[in-house]
């Protein structure tokens, strides 16, 4: 089976500081990969680089998604090609309603795929169902995007977008941070419901806890911008027991976030 995502010897920097230093990763359709590692390892940076955020520049290496050169695309084109990044800290956008935002995103992606636009009534029905699935009141559709949402509500809103956009590859960036155990279960159930032979996940997390609910096929340890160890789900438990001290690297400055 061919890879959905192939990252080859990726080097990337932020403000002229190298953060990703020779990252290699292959993800096949339907697989769930967990990426763990200490603060400053480059976990969030990886998501930003893959999504094409301004200020994050690729120095060398290649990334393909479904055979297409991901690095050659604009951010919105990457999303339309099936990449979805669930943010650790989703942005609040007062003045743009959640529903307007979701509809614009779905419309843009359908248009790019040459599909017919959904009517507003149809879309509202889908959005309400997605709300229900992630346990958010329907009234959240009318509110400004993430405006005044609690940490858990923001994460569930990210998940709702994923349900509606049906991406091929989801990168969940520390989706567990700031969640209590109930919220964590809701998010995990939402993710698990979306697992399929066509959809892959990269679950970025500091703690093993989330992986009790979302069982990964592979676990990788990211340290100082590259993967230093890979294994199956049991590696996560090892890390939980040992911590990251064995990596013997000085934790770099905090990652640039948000």
């Amino acid at each position: 089976m061919s890879n959905l995502l192939t990252i080859k010897d990726l080097h990337a920097s932020v403000e002229e500081k190298n953060i990703i230093k020779g990252l290699n990763l292959e993800v096949k359709p339907g697989e769930v990969h967990a990426i763990m590692g200490p603060n400053g390892a480059g976990k969030s940076t990886m998501g930003y680089v893959l999504s094409g955020r301004d200020g994050y520049s690729v120095e060398s290496g290649s990334v393909t998604l479904d055979g297409a050169d991901l690095l050659d695309m604009e951010t919105e084109e990457r999303a339309r090609a099936g990449l979805f990044l669930a943010f650790q800290y989703p942005v609040e956008i007062p003045g743009v309603s959640n529903l307007e935002f979701l509809k614009a995103a779905v419309d843009a992606q359908r248009e790019a795929r040459g599909e017919e636009a959904v009517t507003s009534a149809e879309f509202l029905k889908e959005a309400k169902a997605a709300c229900k699935q992630v346990n958010l009141p329907v009234s959240f559709l009318k509110r400004g995007v993430n405006e005044g949402f609690s940490g858990g509500e923001k994460k569930r809103n990210e998940l709702m977008q994923m349900l509606l956009l049906k991406p091929k590859l989801c990168i969940l960036d520390e989706t567990d941070s700031g969640l209590d155990i109930d919220a964590l279960q809701v998010v995990a159930e939402g993710v698990n419901s979306q697992r399929s032979a066509e959809r892959s996940f990269i679950v970025v997390t500091h703690y093993q806890r989330l992986l009790d609910y979302i069982k990964p096929d592979f676990v990788h340890v990211l340290s100082d911008g590259k993967i230093v160890k890979s294994g199956d789900a049991s590696l996560a438990h090892e890390l939980e027991a040992q911590g990251y001290a064995w990596l013997q690297t000085e934790p770099a400055e905090d990652e640039l976030e948000g």
Binding site: S51, R53, D54, E74, T75, E76, R78, A79, R80, F84, L85, F87, P90, V91, I93, G95, V96, E100, F101, A104, A105, A108, Q109, A112, V145, Q161, L165, G258
Partner: protein, 419 residues
């Protein structure tokens, strides 16, 4: 003094028509006026080199220029082409109570009367207002008779062909209790220079709805003014939409010359490239109990420059005045520039007067967030930042006009780049 102004004065002196007495006054002042430099407060951020370099010249009325169509707005058209009144393109029949006359067609007695209204409202301090006094030839006089309400808007279009110079002047008088909507619109083909000034005399209980569109961009030099005098209980509601060009300057004056007059002014500007737009808006509260609400909002991209000077002068006798002035700006690039200066001068002690100016930058983080969901950058920036402009479009009393201009403004914004 600049060569351009010398030539303008010389051309003004040649003209000996019915306006000669007023023209002579203007020429006198002009002859003693310093050509503005960076030290001239009214022109501090708006250099006039482009005027000095301009090779625009008076051209004959060219056929083939027509006012741009506005769907669902059936206006009473008044058309100038290259500064000359175009009878053929202008409305032939007018509703009862509305009169439109060319100054040169009036009787000597009427001309004497008209002379008294000419430059009566437009203050003398506007340099290009004086130039317009000196060079305007076809002066239009528009009157709405007492108590008459004109349903259709009156549209005054000034059309310029490439390289043309034009000076148009209109005097609008609303008699007691009359109602009228006026659309002022300049459309230029390029390399043009125009001054377009309109004076509005709004009598007691009369109501004026006003629109001014300055949507020509590029190498057009567009200078103009809209000057309003309000009387007891008269009302005005003005909407200005400006795109920048090599030089685009508009002066507005709202004079509360009666009590309980109400003025609303909503202005928006969207500038790109190296464009310049300069709005100087002055409000004079000379009488008590007047209200003014002024909302000025702009988006400035690339290396464009916006200038806004909003002056509210509340005279000693203008007690119980309510005046608000608000200016909001969004900068799209770090080379874009906005020079905003609210000026309040208050000499009465029992008034409410508020002002504010803000400059925001585009929220790149929110933009990125929307893009990661597949929304294009241009659509994302419209979603995030069109709201504050859209609010002013929503306030336009003429809905059909709002629906015409909204997509034009939105499209211009969507094309702007975040830098």
């Amino acid at each position: 003094m600049s060569e351009w102004l010398e030539s303008a004065i010389a051309r003004g002196q040649e003209n000996q028509d019915w306006l000669a007495p007023k023209r002579a006054q203007a020429l006198d002042v002009l002859a003693n006026t310093q050509w503005p430099t960076r030290k001239t407060e009214a022109w501090r951020y708006t250099p006039l080199r482009a005027v000095e370099r301009s090779s625009a010249k008076a051209l004959d009325r060219e056929s083939g220029l027509t006012p741009v169509a506005i769907p669902n707005v059936s206006a009473i058209e008044l058309v100038f082409v290259n500064g000359q009144f175009d009878v053929l393109q202008s409305a032939k029949t007018l509703p009862t109570g509305l009169t439109v006359q060319l100054g040169q067609d009036l009787s000597a007695e009427q001309q004497a009367e008209a002379l008294r209204s000419f430059s009566n409202i437009k203050p003398e301090r506007h340099l290009f207002g004086l130039v317009n006094d000196a060079l305007a030839k076809d002066v239009l006089l528009v009157t709405v008779a007492e108590g008459i309400k004109i349903a259709e808007p009156l549209r005054i279009s000034s059309l310029l062909s490439t390289g043309a110079e034009s000076h148009t002047r209109v005097l609008v008088r609303l008699e007691k209790g009359a109602q009228l909507a006026v659309i002022e619109d300049v459309q230029s083909q390029g390399d043009s220079l125009s001054t377009a000034f309109v004076e509005y005399d709004v009598a007691a209980d009369a109501s004026l709805e006003h629109y001014r569109f300055a949507l020509q961009t590029g190498s057009n030099l567009t200078i103009g003014g809209s000057h309003f005098q309000l009387s007891d209980k008269s009302k005005m509601h003005s909407t200005i939409v400006g795109f920048g060009s090599e030089l685009s300057r508009l002066d507005t004056d709202i004079i509360h010359a009666g009590e309980f007059a109400d003025a609303k002014l909503n202005a928006m500007y969207l500038l790109d490239g190296k464009e310049l737009f300069d709005l100087h808006a002055t409000v004079e509260h000379a009488m008590p109990n007047g209200t003014t609400e002024e909302n000025v909002r702009g988006i400035v991209a690339d290396r464009a420059r916006a200038v806004f000077n909003g002056r509210i002068h509340i005279h000693r006798d203008a007690q119980k005045t309510l005046a608000e002035l608000n200016n909001r700006n969004l900068l799209m690039s770090n080379k874009a520039e906005i020079n905003t200066k609210p000026e309040l001068e208050i000499y009465a002690d029992d008034v409410r007067c508020a002002h504010g100016a803000t400059i925001a930058e585009i929220d790149k983080q929110a933009l990125y967030y929307l893009e990661t969901r597949g929304i294009s950058k241009s659509k994302a920036q419209v979603m995030l930042n069109f709201g504050f402009i859209n609010e002013l479009i929503d306030l336009m009393p003429n809905e059909a006009l709002a629906e015409w201009v909204r997509p034009i403004i939105r499209e211009r914004f969507a094309q702007m780049e975040v830098k």
